[in-house]
Symmetry: C2
Subunit: 199 residues, 2 copies
């Protein structure tokens, strides 16, 4: 490619990102050229910062630059309720909703024996330890309803059996604002099964 | 957003790139987190390098880290033929084909009076100066066949009229390997008009 070496390097780096192919990487690199100096400085700095500064919260395993993440540091949150999610992105999604006032625990993914991911690989032991140590009263399992999600939810509720903690799962069913004809059969089955008494 | 500040900054920077929205920026930032240290270093460095090191070739206006770009520096290229393209990307495209052995001139876009882009804005004066100074024998206009492309091509051929230089345009017509039914009427009309004698 007949670009200067710094542009060729940048194209190669963009190509390492998910969903970015050769042509998009080239387009992004040329667009980077036209960015303002202050954005460039911030961009370059943030990229090295995310690698050097971001670690995991010691309490909930969410992304954080300090030992405790911004959520665990917040005063006034319910310290006895933990919402278990599969990755940091899901914490952000729940926080956007804004109604949940408890804490989180971020798994390192979901159990998937076929991919060689076992309970000990996704920090379930840390979760168990924290529940016991902090005398957690409710664990809300909020993983997606896939095979891996079901396996993980089942495993967690099994190991928590016998402990003085309430284990719940977020409701799965028909989402709002969606035409019923677009809902798959499995979801409808689940929605029927989990029907609520409104009489 | 409940991410550490360096991740939030990185998301904002990704969002400045063309075609990257909020969700994609978030996905890219989280993917950046998992990149290897050496890629991160190169990525961060390339971004500041493209801004600080990349300038324009003094001869052809292509992107370059030196006064002359890699193509203008190559020995053995036909010094009397210039291919005029609308941006640096097109140089790379022609070089990939590999059969063209002349030099280039990269315009800063195409003439577009509606957008306020006039001939003096796209370095046509520099092109004219170079043609006279270097006694160029052929100028190949290789801009896309849009309204702006046509205007630019027409303008260039007009100002070169009277100079001892041959002006040509790349052929426009039916591309190879495409079913005729997918070719638009304008292209077919052009292809008919520019038909070649093969008898």
């Amino acid at each position: 490619m007949n670009y200067p070496i710094s542009i060729r390097n940048l194209i190669e780096c963009y190509k390492k990102l998910p969903g970015i192919g050769e042509k998009t990487a080239e387009r992004l690199a040329l667009a980077t050229l036209t960015m303002d100096k202050d954005i460039i400085d911030l961009f370059s700095k943030s990229i090295s910062d995310v690698k050097s500064k971001v670690k995991r919260c010691q309490k909930c395993n969410h992304l954080s630059e300090d030992d405790l993440c911004e959520i665990c540091k917040q005063k006034g949150r319910d310290q006895k309720t933990i919402c278990v999610v599969e990755d940091p992105k899901n914490v952000v999604i729940f926080e956007k909703v804004g109604t949940y006032k408890g804490l989180y625990f971020v798994l390192d993914g979901l159990i998937s024996p076929l991919d060689g991911i076992n309970p000990e690989d996704i920090k379930i032991n840390d979760l168990l330890e924290r529940i016991e140590k902090e005398k957690i009263e409710e664990v809300i399992i909020a993983v997606k309803p896939s095979i891996e999600g079901e396996t993980t939810a089942l495993y967690i509720s099994k190991i928590l059996k016998g402990l003085p903690v309430k284990v719940t799962r977020i409701a799965h069913g028909v989402p709002l604002g969606v035409d019923m004809e677009y809902i798959d059969a499995m979801t409808l089955e689940l929605a029927l099964e989990n029907r609520q008494d409104v009489s």
